[in-house]
């Protein structure tokens, strides 16, 4: 026969043990390697022997699996480039060795700026040269003549009745088509 006091003492110890396990799991998580060295073996024994303790560990493991989903974000290459470029442009330290990526982007930016500046001037020069060419070659006059020719064709087509294009086999009788 088991002593009643022994059962009560065991129950109290179990309750204390479970409470301590619950605290250790709340602080350190489900991985026993993280638990305090002095308590690990005792807590693992309790988990092996007590289904309530095993249940607490299962819950902690499940919670850890959910916690693994906390978004961390991963630094994009663009962000890393931006940080390095900002440091080089910062002026706080005189950057003596500049990474290739930054040097390239700077060269790219420089070219883009140059192109932007050159483009309107080139367009203006080309426009001027073309005007000069038209004036000297008399091409402008010819173009006007050609335009007048097309305009006269347009007048002719408006004057031509669709009936002129009908077959003449039946003598061009308009009524036979109706």
């Amino acid at each position: 026969m088991i002593d009643r006091q022994e059962i009560m003492a065991k129950g109290t110890n179990n309750a204390k043990g479970l409470k301590r396990l619950d605290t250790v799991l709340a602080v350190y998580g489900s991985n026993p390697a993280e638990w305090p060295d002095g308590e690990r073996a005792g807590l693992e024994d309790m988990i092996g022997a007590d289904p309530s303790a095993a249940r607490l560990l299962d819950e902690a493991v499940a919670l850890d699996r959910v916690m693994e989903h906390a978004p961390a974000g991963k630094a994009s290459e663009a962000l890393k480039r931006r940080i390095v470029a900002a440091a080089v442009d910062d002026g706080g330290i005189d950057a003596r060795v500049i990474p290739i990526s930054v040097a390239r982007s700077r060269r790219g930016r420089g070219l883009a700026r140059d192109r932007t500046a050159v483009w309107p001037a080139a367009a203006l020069a080309a426009s001027f040269a073309f005007g000069l060419y038209l004036g000297l070659s008399g091409l402008g006059v010819n173009t006007v003549d050609q335009a007048l020719e097309f305009a006269s064709l347009d007048v002719i087509s408006q004057e031509t009745d669709d009936l002129d294009l009908l077959p003449t086999g039946n003598g061009g009788d308009q009524d036979s088509l109706l």
Binding site: T23, A26, V61, A62, V66, A70, A75, L79, I93
Partner: protein, 178 residues
């Protein structure tokens, strides 16, 4: 750091390559916003570049220093938000109709919402200890509080998450009936 202090932006680029992800992760989990997290990561790394000349290598590790700066920048932003408006914190991040068969994206969203709903210091303790794997002592040092206080913040934070995310973590429980 000596190369960076000498103005070697290529050395800084290497540092950006290896450290940005971690800084960004801390900022993302603290702020719950991608764009703000990128700004914080950029600012933290730029501060390192600007202060490289005065860097005291014996006093702090680069990663610890970066964490600290990033955390302070996050706290500044969170305070700024509080002054602007009262945050809309959901009572339960999981709507009643969506408590079954959670997809990965849903889990990320619910976890993010639950994390953002925690008080700032609980969130910070969780982010540094649980997600960034810093030691309890390192977290205590960074937060300028005792180890006991960190344990208390972690336990409260994780218990709140356990309560809020119950429908999610229950899906990961093993079936103990067999």
């Amino acid at each position: 750091m000596s190369r960076i202090a000498a103005g070697d932006a290529r050395a800084f680029e290497e540092l950006v390559e290896t450290r940005t992800d971690r800084v960004l992760a801390v900022a993302r989990r603290m702020l719950g916003n991608d764009a703000e997290a990128e700004d914080v990561a950029q600012e933290a790394l730029l501060r390192l570049w600007r202060q490289a000349e005065k860097w005291d290598g014996g006093r702090a590790q680069i990663s610890t220093w970066l964490y600290r700066v990033a955390v302070n920048l996050c706290i500044d932003r969170l305070r700024g938000r509080r002054e602007d408006s009262t945050p809309d914190v959901p009572d339960s991040p999981i709507p009643a109709g969506q408590q079954h068969t959670l997809e990965e994206d849903d889990l990320r969203k619910f976890m993010d919402d639950a994390l953002q709903s925690l008080p700032e210091r609980q969130r910070l303790a969780l982010v540094l200890f649980h997600f960034e794997d810093l030691s309890m002592a390192a977290v205590a040092e960074m937060m300028e509080i005792s180890v006991d206080a960190v344990e208390s913040l972690l336990a409260r934070g994780r218990r709140t998450l356990k309560q809020q995310l119950q429908p999610a973590w229950q899906e990961f429980l093993p079936d103990r009936n067999d």
